[in-house]
């Protein structure tokens, strides 16, 4: 097991830092490739929409006498005629049953074959099996309404986030991450040719909500840290954001693992025991979507935010002020070292106040690191100097000097 608490501690204090922001071009490039592949997949292989969207053929086997195991038997019949065809199989009526088989729209020849196959399977005459075309249950209007609702929701979220975080650029960055997740998730579906059912659509929506949720959690920490940075001018915006991502990375890992574990269980169950069906469809879209959502909130959303805000005057100013602070701090430390007293307690978190440039995970080798972490051992053992008089307690405080001697 990874020593997570130690890892978390280091990330929190900034002793160890993963350069999420500094390497943002890498993540952008990786994501761009993924998005491109997804878009290509969408363009070349269209989504395999289920019959709930497109409509299809419906077969009814009337007055079937023997209906034990009707599901698997009907499915076998469908597979004989058109291998790989998904089918919805239901039983109508209670005593004298009609078996209803819905498939995607078949050709006329297939239609006749399937009628014959079903008739043979259930021991009825071919004319007892009726075939008809069914319209989509998830029609255009449902999609349109859902899309309209989605747009309204995104606009509202954009506004709410802009008000809460007090910058519309955070909203924009969150939306970019969201779009990124959606495109990739949909692309996976297009490329693998998995059937898109209403359950999958619900899955997409869940992913969307989750991705946004995750981004908001990370951004809240970014907001906190950058606000502090704007206040004390000791870190650049990028540094503060990077620290925020580092500080929440343990949370992100934990959350993602916790969220993915139940889905993974469903997924494994779907693959091994159940075979294709709603359960597998849903768990797959959720697994992919949530994993990508967690990735994007760290690797896309925050870097995008930093890129967006990079050219703002306030951010530029902060950068200059922070650089000034760093040089001043370095000078102070150097002086202190020259005097041989070691860096004083006044050096405020020198290890975290590092620039973006040192890309190595262990930051101790950076420019300021040489000063800050040069003698951590020596300083750490004496956390704060307590006045020798005070060590024994307040009763033994030194007596105040008489006024004449002050």
């Amino acid at each position: 097991m990874i020593n997570f608490s130690q890892f978390g501690n280091d990330l929190y204090t900034g002793r160890r830092s993963i350069p999420f922001i500094a390497h943002r071009r890498r993540w952008y490039a990786a994501s761009a490739v993924l998005v491109l592949i997804a878009l290509l997949g969408l363009g070349v292989k269209h989504l395999n929409l289920g019959l709930e969207f497109t409509g299809g053929s419906e077969f009814r086997v009337a007055a079937a006498t023997n209906v034990d195991n009707y599901e698997s038997r009907a499915r076998d019949a469908v597979q004989q005629v058109s291998p790989g065809q998904a089918a919805n199989i239901t039983k109508l009526g209670t005593s004298s049953s009609t078996i209803r088989v819905q498939t995607e729209q078949l050709t006329d020849a297939q239609n006749n074959d399937l009628r014959a196959a079903l008739a043979k399977e259930f021991g009825v005459g071919t004319n007892e099996v009726s075939a008809s075309f069914v319209g989509p249950s998830w029609g255009q209007s449902v999609t349109q309404q859902a899309l309209r609702a989605l747009v309204v929701f995104l606009v509202l979220t954009f506004l709410v986030m802009a008000i809460y975080f007090r910058t519309w650029k955070m909203s924009l960055a969150a939306m970019i991450a969201l779009l990124h997740d959606m495109v990739i998730t949909v692309g996976v579906y297009a490329l693998t040719g998995l059937e898109v059912s209403p359950a999958t659509m619900i899955g997409f929506l869940t992913v969307l909500g989750y991705s946004l949720y995750d981004t908001v959690v990370v951004f809240d920490k970014v907001r906190e840290n950058t606000q502090e940075a704007f206040g004390n001018k000791r870190r650049t915006y990028a540094e503060a954001a990077n620290l925020a991502v580092n500080q929440t990375v343990v949370r992100s890992i934990n959350t993602t693992v916790v969220a993915l574990l139940p889905i993974a269980a469903v997924l494994v169950m779907g693959f091994t025991v159940l075979g294709p069906g709603t359960l597998l469809d849903l768990s797959l879209v959720l697994f992919i979507g949530m994993a990508i959502g967690a990735y994007s909130s760290i690797f896309i959303a925050t870097p995008a935010l930093v890129s967006l805000r990079h050219n703002e005057p306030a951010v530029q100013e902060l950068e200059k002020a922070a650089a000034k602070f760093h040089t001043r701090q370095a000078k102070k430390d150097a002086e202190a070292q020259a005097k041989g007293t070691g860096p004083g307690a006044g050096a405020e978190e020198p290890a975290t106040s590092e620039g973006l440039e040192p890309a190595v995970a262990g930051r101790g080798t950076g420019s300021t690191g040489s000063t800050g972490s040069a003698s951590p051992a020596s300083t750490a053992s004496t956390p704060r100097t307590i006045h020798p008089y005070a060590q024994t307690g307040p009763r033994n405080q030194p007596r105040r000097k008489p006024k004449s001697q002050r």
Binding site: M1, S5, Q6, G8, N9, D10, Y12, T13, G55, E71, G93, S132, F133, V134, G135, P136, S137, W138, S141, V142, Q145, R148, A149, L150, V152, F153, L156, T157, V160, M161, Y164, A199, L205, T206, G209, Y210, L212, Y213, T248, N254, T255, A259, L261, P262, A265, V266, M269, G270, L274, L279, S283, E349, T352, P376, A377, A380, S381, P383, R384, R395
Partner: protein
């Protein structure tokens, strides 16, 4: 421990949570004993099966139903089904002719009717009115002052003719005179020429072909013009006997033409002008009790309609024109599926596009009707062709394995959080269990009250909710740990950590709740069901974090195990590499936390 002032408030909050759970359980128990609720949530179509109804359009003559009409009808039926609760019904067209509605459970007759009725509401001016049957019986005066004896809102008129509510039986005997009753005698004679040149009317010549008058205000006066009453129409009116069953079967309801029809209860018959405002102009409809002058609701049920702008203009123009006409012609008839449900007189011109219909219906009927009106009329009525039970589309094994997988997932989550958070993991697990309990209770209650049904997508949504709920705790615990790392004692770490985590949790859940709200109100069908589940789990998440996890943490911070930072508590300052701070702990003592540390710990 209860004496500790620090734990008093958390205990009170926990008591509140217990009260909520008890209340929900009590509600469910009560609904079970006295109502129709069950102890388990209702399941959706794909898991439990239900009823499949095949609807066949009722067509007049050789009319054919177009694919577009069928799709339109399907959309409206979807909305009507949705209005009955969050049930997740499936509505499809079949063979370009039928509509197939699959609903979970067994819909009753009223639901079934509400789905398939056309509910075409139109407003037409009354040109003439008469008693519903041709039997010799007391009828209205032939002088045109007749108001319907059965008209529910036959209130006092604003015009000179005062309160003709109780009709005076003047025309005695002969059935022929009785049948003519509503139409002035002169009119019947005068309207022999089809183009209606010399009727005694102010705006003399409406051309029946050139005035479609479907609610547009091109010729505002023409729909009320008596010249519409041609001789064949008058004959048809005379022959009409509302008491005969099937008397209206042959009525063709063309919005551009006048209509001869009966009132819904068959006591009155009418010649109506062309449609002034069509049902598509109804913007919203609401049912309720009509308020009295003092604002108190009366016992009279009314449906309030508001029109869209075009409709309200047409309505205003018509009412302005009609308010000054003599008695039968100052009435505006509201027809539902070609039958007059109510034909009130205008006492004043109605200019604001708000109409209210009061009639002999009960509040339930009014609510159903208002719902149907709101979503618009079906292009045609439907008859029920077949109604059968339908088996679940997903095999029972899907649900069973889904639940098994969910349980395994939950165990994995529990194991992982114990590994990560040591003893704190128990708090996570307990919180998830509480959340599950609350979800179960509310789903079951909602199944009873709002016909909420859990389908496969809903089940999976709940599995996802485990992750999101757990995340709230993770955010909270991580914040507490951050504070401990800063060197705060646990008591203070819990408080400051909570103050910060609260913001994050509220804003992140707020965004989710917003999503649920928008999707619920704007989307339809399955998406709506999803939004409902999402909103519910989000609310429960907030409730559990605020009313369970935080108070529990407050209490645990006071225990020696957690507060003292035991190695297995998940909050031990040593393991978290806390920054050493020296605090004055009173009575002349100082404490340095953590007491002994290795050199690598600090970065300060």
């Amino acid at each position: 421990m209860a004496l500790n002032p620090y734990t008093r408030k958390p205990l009170r909050v926990l008591g509140g949570l217990a009260a909520i759970v008890a209340l929900l359980a009590g509600l469910l128990a009560g609904a079970n004993i006295w109502g129709t609720a069950h102890w388990v949530p209702k399941l959706g179509l794909d898991l439990e099966g239900g009823t499949q109804m095949v609807l066949e359009p009722v067509l007049v003559g050789t009319n054919q139903v177009s694919g577009q009409q069928l799709n339109q009808a399907r959309d409206i039926i979807v909305q009507r089904v949705d209005a009955n609760g969050v049930s997740g019904a499936e509505v499809t067209t079949r063979g370009g002719r039928n509509i197939v509605v699959s609903m979970p459970g067994q819909p009753d007759k009223a639901t079934e009717d509400a789905i398939r009725k056309s509910s075409q509401m139109r407003f037409r001016a009354v040109l003439a009115a008469g008693a519903g049957t041709n039997q010799p019986q007391p009828t209205t005066t032939p002088s045109g002052g007749a108001t319907g004896p059965a008209s529910p809102t036959g209130s006092a008129t604003s015009k000179a003719t005062k309160a003709t509510k109780a009709p005076v039986p003047t025309a005695t005997g002969a059935s022929t005179t009785a049948a003519k009753s509503g139409i002035p005698q002169a009119l019947l004679n005068a309207t022999t020429s089809p183009s209606g040149t010399a009727t005694s009317k102010p705006s003399a010549t409406p051309k029946a072909t050139a005035s479609p008058t479907t609610g547009t205000s091109a010729k505002p006066k023409s729909p009320t013009d008596l010249a519409w009453v041609t001789e064949p129409l008058a004959k048809q009116f005379q022959a009409l006997d509302c008491a005969k069953p099937g008397a209206l079967d042959k009525v063709v309801d063309d919005p551009a033409k006048p209509l001869v029809t009966c009132s819904a209860d068959g006591t009155e018959k009418f010649i109506l002008g062309p449609v002034i405002v069509g049902g598509d102009q109804i913007d919203s409809a609401a049912a309720g009790y009509r308020p009295l002058a003092n604002g108190q609701p009366s016992s009279e049920v009314e449906i309030q309609l508001s029109f869209k702008s075009a409709g309200s203009k047409a309505y205003a123009d018509a009412s302005k024109a009609m308010v000054s006409l003599e008695s039968p012609r100052n009435r505006m008839a509201a027809t539902l599926d070609s039958k007059v449900i109510v034909a009130p007189q205008f006492n004043e011109a109605i200019l604001n596009g708000q109409a209210s219909i009061t009639g002999g219906f009960t509040i339930e009927q009014a609510r159903d009707l208002a719902n149907q009106l709101k979503f618009g009329a079906l292009p045609m009525s439907f008859s029920l062709e077949t109604r059968e039970n339908i088996s679940p589309t997903l095999g029972s094994e899907q649900l069973r394995y889904g639940l098994v997988a969910g349980m395994i997932g939950l165990l994995l989550v529990a194991g992982y959080s114990l590994l990560q958070y040591r003893a704190l993991g128990f708090v996570t697990v307990a919180s998830i269990v509480i959340a599950a309990l609350l979800t179960y209770l509310s789903l079951t209650i909602l199944g009873w009250s709002h016909n909420y049904r859990l389908d496969m997508a809903g089940v999976t949504g709940l599995v996802i909710a485990i992750g999101v709920t757990a995340d709230s705790f993770i955010v909270y615990f991580e914040r507490i740990r951050d504070e401990v790392r800063e060197g705060r004692p646990l008591r203070g770490a819990v408080d400051t950590g909570w103050r910060r985590a609260k913001r994050t949790i509220v804003v992140a859940d707020g965004v989710n709740f917003l999503a649920a709200l928008v999707l619920y109100f704007l989307a339809s069908s399955n998406v709506r069901g999803f939004a409902f589940t999402l909103g519910l789990t989000t609310l429960i998440d907030i409730l559990v974090v605020f009313m369970f996890t935080h108070p529990i943490m407050g209490i645990l911070a006071e225990t020696k195990f957690f507060g003292g930072g035991h190695k297995w508590s998940g909050l031990s300052p040593e393991r978290l590499g806390a920054t050493p701070t020296t605090r004055y702990v009173g009575r002349g003592r100082f404490a340095t936390t953590p007491a002994a540390r290795t050199a690598e710990g600090s970065a300060r």
